[in-house]
């Protein structure tokens, strides 16, 4: 069993997945300010308890910022509205645009914090083993975890490919246009290489009875306290309730 540094890490993976799902869908469904901000605060508190607060805040900012900037630019200046705050050239910044941008921002942050917290506190394979135990087919479970775990390999591969093209004079340090032109020689081998790897890996796994149907016994027991089950159901019901309230126009 992997080392688990905090009680939050030690929760059943599904519980953490439900918290992440309810957090992100909840932020989306609720809209406005109060709901998403409440979700942000809860996630930050949980992250603090799990000892990953600083890391989560940093990663979530880094991930969200590029999208956030474009959202702000686009919505502040293009959203039709009656209250014009100021003008830049032909563009009007409207109060409605600002309101929309802020609402989108808090949703975005709530979603990235929810998902980020899950990823930082959950071993992907623990999650998958748990799903498998609950009856998800091993093949589907494997594909899910292999996809997540393949990210570092993909990054490594892209680095190596970019090195070999730069060694042939490809300029990746130049202007935006030069960089875009340089993408094909990098993206092409990344995709082809990943496909070959997948093919080789599936052959290698066949030799280990990967395609055998039927039950598997886990190597270790997975924690799943009674209260976690209750919590998951409560969160689920809350989410459904929020969605219904939203759809029927009550919030």
């Amino acid at each position: 069993m992997p080392v688990t540094p905090s009680p939050y890490h030690r929760l059943n993976p599904l519980t953490k997945a439900v918290i992440a799902t309810v957090g992100s869908i909840g932020a989306f469904v609720l809209g406005g300010y109060v709901g998403p901000i409440a979700i942000m605060v809860i996630m930050l508190l949980l992250a603090w308890r799990a000892g990953v607060l600083a890391r989560l805040a940093r990663v979530s900012l880094l991930l969200t910022l590029p999208i956030a900037i474009s959202v702000v630019l686009v919505s502040v200046f293009t959203r039709a509205g009656t209250t014009v705050l100021f003008q830049i050239g032909p563009f009007d910044a409207t109060a409605e645009g600002v309101d929309f941008a802020l609402q989108t921002l808090v949703r975005l942050f709530a979603i990235s914090l929810s998902i980020g917290l899950f990823i930082m506190t959950t071993e992907p394979r623990a999650f998958v083993f748990d799903l498998e135990r609950r009856g998800v087919p091993p093949r589907a479970a494997f594909i899910a975890v292999a996809t997540i775990e393949a990210v570092p390999t993909l990054v490594e591969r892209a680095t190596m490919i970019s090195e070999s093209q730069r060694a042939r004079g490809l300029d990746t340090e130049g202007s935006f246009l030069t960089r875009v032109r340089g993408l094909l020689p990098i993206v092409g081998p990344v995709i082809i290489g990943s496909l070959t790897d997948v093919e080789e890996r599936s052959l290698a796994l066949e030799s280990r009875a990967f395609s055998r149907p039927g039950r598997r016994h886990l190597l270790w027991a997975m924690p799943d306290e009674g209260w976690e089950r209750v919590l998951r159901w409560v969160l689920f019901v809350l989410l459904v309730g929020a969605a219904v309230a939203r759809l029927t126009g009550r919030i």
Partner: protein, 269 residues
Amino acid sequence: MTRLDLEGVGFVYPDGTRALDGVDLTIGAGESVAIVGQNGSGKSTLVRHFNGLLRPTDGRILHDGEDVADVRTAALAARVGIVFQNPDRQIFAGKVRTEVAFGPKTLGRSATDIEAATRDALAAVGLSDAADANPYDLGYSRRKLLTIASVLAMGTPVVVLDEPTTGQDARGVARVQQVLAGLVADGRTVIAISHDMRFVAGSFSRIVVMGGGRILLDGPPAEVFAEPAWPVLASSYLEPPYAARVGARLALGSTPTETALVEALAARG
């Protein structure tokens, strides 16, 4: 012609791993040098400094006496070509010819030059007949020769090859040896990383042995594979070639290649 000088070069990866530690190395124009050592000894990190893919965290790199710290990799690529180990981390074009033309093209050569360079490079590796084939229809060893051609076509004064014989059969190895000999005959500098001791003993005039980010041995094959150097080789998990071991057992002195061994035996009568 380009002479490479490394002065006190150290390199630490962002994760804190020290890959190179005070490396002093001069490779003169037209030399043929093999770099050997186990994985993680710093060989690949070292050669990535030759064309600026990596920049030293200590020390400096000079090309013909000029510090290249401020020269972009795209410009250094015109002087030092590197063929990496895995062809599938490089090949992107739908046609062999296009793949080979990519290097000279990015270096801004003229259309006539590109065509001539592509043709010559394909001929040198024996792939002229496959110029219009899809690279992925070629087998692994021919794809590997294709990546060698892609770098040859750039006409760089220095050519670096990372594990050129991996995955090659005897014919492929012979082809690589022929290409190297051609480069040396042209007066170009050839540097290769290799795990194949028989190959390096037979094809290079100088061998640099690395371990733990440092240079452990540096000299001609007869010196590096001589019995007194064996403990140093062993410290980097290297074994001298079979011929050297037999020569030592028969007290024939240093016989790094099979030819040297047979000569020494014949001389003794």
